[in-house]
């Protein structure tokens, strides 16, 4: 191992800190390409930002604010938060503020708008900011104070992480997708299995993963405690970025002799549909070991699985069928663009005819905000990312995490089943 070998993440961080070399544990200050916030975290950031007495943000083009959690405003307090955020965005002339009607779930919207590309360093006051690792960017969730300081200075402090390498080979079997891969990994390494670390996904298996699947995998890196989850840049990445921005992607490649704290070899062909049982994402079981779990609600959407491919898979299962009588099925496209495309492709019609609701984009039910809260004792299967106690409503309700295919199949059966059984 050469002395200066770095992981992909370390190379991006070094470049943004103006250093030739960084090593694990080193504290650095990095320049930011984008600072992100939502309607829950931005109000706290604004309070902190205002303490600095500044009249301007560091760069009005490099901040994005997406009110997506409790929007369209769920109650008066949320409306007041959104108003505060809206007025701040206007006063600071923030270019990338997205109002209801043009917004989407932030981590689906930001890449769609071309606001993050390969090689960027992005912080977001939302834990699922790690999603953009799918594009070969370093992106990580932070808190509101980091957002405030990022808006003021364009900088953030980072402790350089070490990395775990996931060497992927093979291809998924039918109905198995990126969601099953990441649930499998979290089940294997645990909810703190990658604490403070990068998860770097490599190997020839990567090329068989669509960009939507890569977003899903990177999105849930935080559920293993990781700082970021990153993919190498290939034609799939570059084709996605093309036409969305005038900026040039920067490609960083891990050194062959980079040091990893662990290496896992995963044959995608071995992965089965996987479900996380309450109340932690690492409490996983493969679909054949689920047993008899009846459900009250199905949620398909979120920053994890609210993209076109997710909706197409769900529609292919629900087409010309009816959801089980008495089961509430809520389908949320990730952005307005996806909403429109789902209409044009006839997916919206399939969902409504099957007896599901097809809603405007919102984080809503994923975090127990609105648009599908669970009562005491109720169970939901959901394509979202967390199943903590009380996550989707009453502290005595339960959330089971799964892929869009498993969620859609379960909607027809009223209990958790494999799409193969439909």
């Amino acid at each position: 191992m050469s002395k200066n070998a770095m992981t992909m993440t370390q190379k991006i961080l070094a470049a943004h800190a103006g250093l030739d070399y960084v090593t694990e544990g080193q504290l650095i200050t990095g320049n930011l390409d984008l600072v992100l916030g939502n309607d829950v975290t931005t109000p706290v950031a604004i309070n902190e930002f205002n303490r600095l007495g500044l009249t301007k943000v560091f760069d009005k083009n490099k901040i994005a604010i997406v009110p997506d959690h409790f929007t369209p405003n769920k109650d008066i307090k949320s409306a007041e938060h959104c108003k505060l955020v809206r007025e701040f965005a206007k006063k600071m002339e923030i270019v990338n503020y997205f109002e209801v009607g043009e917004m989407g779930i932030e981590h689906v919207l930001i890449p769609e708008k071309g606001l993050v590309i390969s090689g960027d360093v992005v912080i977001g006051a939302d834990s699922h900011t790690c999603t953009y690792g799918a594009l070969g960017a370093f992106s990580t969730g932070v808190g509101s104070t980091d957002m405030a300081v990022g808006m003021a200075t364009g900088k953030a402090w980072f402790k350089v992480p070490e990395a775990i390498k996931f060497e992927l080979t093979g291809k998924f079997k039918k109905w198995v997708s990126g969601k099953d891969l990441i649930l499998h990994i979290i089940g294997m390494i645990g909810v703190d299995g990658a604490l403070y670390k990068s998860m770097e996904f490599t190997g020839e298996g990567v090329k068989s993963l669509s960009i939507d699947e890569r977003f899903t995998v990177s999105n849930m890196a935080i559920e293993a405690g990781a700082k970021n989850g990153i993919f190498p840049v290939d034609d799939v990445t570059l084709n996605y970025i093309k036409g969305r921005t005038e900026r040039e992607p920067k490609i960083f490649v891990a050194d062959e002799d980079a040091k990893y704290s662990a290496v896992y070899n995963i044959d995608l062909g071995d992965i089965k549909s996987t479900v996380s049982f309450p109340h932690l994402p690492d409490n996983t079981r493969t679909i054949d070991k689920v047993g008899d779990v009846t459900i009250d609600q199905v949620v398909i959407g979120s920053c994890t699985n609210g993209r076109m491919e997710d909706l197409r898979i769900a529609a292919s299962i629900l087409k010309d069928k009816k959801v089980k009588k008495g089961i509430r099925v809520i389908i949320l496209p990730g952005t307005q663009k996806i909403f429109l495309q789902a209409m044009e492709e006839g997916l919206a019609k399939i969902f409504v005819e099957a007896g599901a609701v097809f809603s405007t984009p919102t984080c809503g039910p994923c975090l127990g905000g609105h648009m599908g809260i669970l009562a005491k004792g109720e169970r939901a299967i959901s394509t979202t990312n967390r199943n903590f106690v009380g996550r989707m409503g009453h502290p005595e309700s339960e959330v089971y995490l799964a892929s869009p295919a498993v969620a859609a199949a379960s909607a027809l059966a009223g209990k958790i089943i494999s799409p193969e059984e439909v």
């Binding site: 504290l27 200050t29 829950v40 975290t41 109000p43 706290v44 309070n47 902190e48 303490r51 600095l52 959690h69 409790f70 769920k74 109650d75 307090k77 949320s78 938060h81 977001g124 006051a125 939302d126 834990s127 900011t129 969730g141 932070v142 808190g143 509101s144 104070t145 980091d146 405030a148 300081v149 003021a152 200075t153 900088k155 402090w157 909810v191 703190d192 604490l195 403070y196 935080i222 405690g225 700082k227 932690l280 975090l367 127990g368 905000g369 967390r386 903590f388 106690v389 009380g390 996550r391 502290p395």
Partner: protein, 163 residues
């Protein structure tokens, strides 16, 4: 800079959804948030808590969401510090950034039981379990983080030109 108080002891993977449930995140007022601190984990938390008490937990404390509301509400409720075997990284940096002290010390956590009296010196990282008459040394903070905590948060550091 030190703290003294009795232990409120919890387990592994205490997530931010139970520290401050999202149904209360339509407020950003620390006092309002503090009223619901740890509500979904322990409904009696606020009754048990005396100002200055210390939350002690096992591994991965504060996992989940990036909501700074979590350390904000713990601080505003009157907890003087959190000691755990490990912290989720966003909770860790949020605590540092708001100047709320947290310490990682496996041995102190293993011995601590509900009601034990602890004394913590943040500068040296020395934790004393007065009830047991034992002393432990936590992972010391790097200088950079001590600077943030001593200035009561990152914003003050920016204001003073220290960042």
């Amino acid at each position: 800079m030190d703290a003294k108080g009795k232990v409120l002891r919890y387990g592994d993977n205490i997530d931010t959804d139970v520290i401050i449930p999202a149904r209360y995140l339509n407020s950003s007022d620390p006092k309002e948030l503090a009223k619901h601190c740890m509500e979904d984990l322990d409904v009696n938390f606020l009754e048990k808590l005396n100002k200055g008490d210390i939350v002690v937990a096992d591994k991965n404390f504060g996992c989940g969401s990036s909501r700074e509301h979590a350390p904000i509400c713990i601080k505003a409720a009157g907890v003087s510090c959190v000691i755990a075997k490990s912290f989720a990284r966003i909770f860790y940096r949020n605590s540092i950034n708001i100047g709320f002290p947290i310490l990682e010390c496996e041995d102190a956590v293993n011995d601590a039981k509900n009601g034990h009296e602890l004394q913590v010196d943040f500068k040296t990282g020395i934790i004393k379990n007065i009830t047991l008459g034992k002393e432990y040394k936590a992972q010391p903070f790097p200088e950079f983080m001590i600077k943030i905590i001593e200035n009561d948060g990152l914003i003050n550091c920016v204001e003073k030109g220290l960042f």
